[in-house]
Amino acid sequence: MPDKKHDLIDQNLQDLNNDGVDRRGFLKCMAWAGTGLVWTMSGGVPVSRAFAKTYGKDAAKGGDFTFVQISDSHIGFNKPANPDVTATLQTAINKINAMPHKPDFIIHTGDLSQLSKPSEFDTLDQVLKGASAKQIYFVPGEHDMLSDNGEQFLQRYGKGTKGTGWYSFDQKGVHFVGLVNVANLKAGGMGSLGHEQLEWLEDDLKGRSASTPIVLFAHIPLWTIYPDWGWGTDDSEQALSYVKRFGSVTVLNGHIHQIMQKVEGKVSFHTAMSTAFPQPAPGTAPSAGPMKVPADQLQQVLGITDVNYVVSGRSLAIVDSPLGASGSSASAGSGGAWR
């Protein structure tokens, strides 16, 4: 069953699965550093380079900045493979706080909670309070809108946002857009942005210079990864048509609890690991339910994503770090064009 999707599967997951998927397929796509992957967007071409070196030199430059993406903390989940998701979120925050370069802010790409319970949001708030980065931007996951159409989420994390929680902001010349694709889902469909949000997005991007780097973030992937499991967004094509004219577009998602990447033209797509539990690679299990791994391997399949924006060249370098990794990792190796 040759399946292009399998070429993009996170190596960490493959090591655990040991299911015989051809590893050369994705090694030629990605440069791996054992604990982290670095690549830099430069005119739409992904180039990998040494992570540690880059940070040391560039992080101090005026205008450059770093932010961290965390995702799918699922506070309240208490089953195998992770009976203590609060502890692993805490580990993620500790890791962020220990970074040599202090991130300007954190983005949480949804599924903060397991069941949208006030106590779950309270616990999340307690842990996030300990983050050195005080500014945290959120978008909801489907788990955050379970019983009240997201009312509580909006009150807690979406003040001043539009509709079901979408918004945009600027940071040192980069335009960030938080989108909601988990509201009002239709039977048989996948994620959905909806007409109102799409109109807002078109308007929000209108008049911005094509040289403005754009970062879109939303919970469910804005590219179709695996329709059988609903891993995609039905109307994402339209959203992406609005960003086509921009020179650098980065799309950050969660939901699938594993790293997947794709570059299409000048748009690079990226999904983050969860801080709670891993999910199987597409089609490798009967369903997308939590993947059970031995306790000593759990921290290798949970993690955070670190994004470094370098003004010179308007590039974004994305680094995924499993929670179990210590210190920063360096990536050497050839930049890969993939597909």
Partner: protein, 117 residues
């Protein structure tokens, strides 16, 4: 049946009877047990059976056996479960004949239907 299983089964029956006797009047009887024919099990992000046929007046019970919460919501608004976490249930009594499609609002790829005759 292997000898070992036969032995276990032989032991299990008197043990179960003893438990029921100890508990006083048996709590679960054949009559108030939800009929398996009117049950939908949520497992591996799917409704099983996907199409369930019942008679008018039947009460259908959904039970979630996944580690992830699900809902069972009628596409045309007739019924709407609360979020069912693991092992939680939802029941609805169908009083009119018809075909009733439903889905999980959290994972909308999950769809099913109840046919009431």
């Amino acid at each position: 049946m292997t000898k070992k299983n036969a032995l276990i089964a032989g032991l299990a029956v008197p043990v179960m009877i003893a438990i029921l006797l100890l508990a006083g009047s048996p709590r679960v009887t054949a009559t108030d047990k939800p009929s398996a024919a009117n049950a939908v099990t949520i497992d591996n992000f799917s409704f099983g059976p996907q199409t369930l046929s019942v008679s008018v007046g039947a009460t259908v019970t959904w039970v979630n056996r996944d580690d992830i919460p699900h809902t069972s919501v009628s596409t045309d608004g007739l019924f709407k479960s609360k979020v069912m976490d693991t092992d939680e249930k939802f029941s609805y009594t169908f009083t009119k004949a018809g075909t009733y499609p439903y889905y999980c609002t959290i994972h909308p790829k999950m769809t099913g239907q109840v046919v009431v005759q």
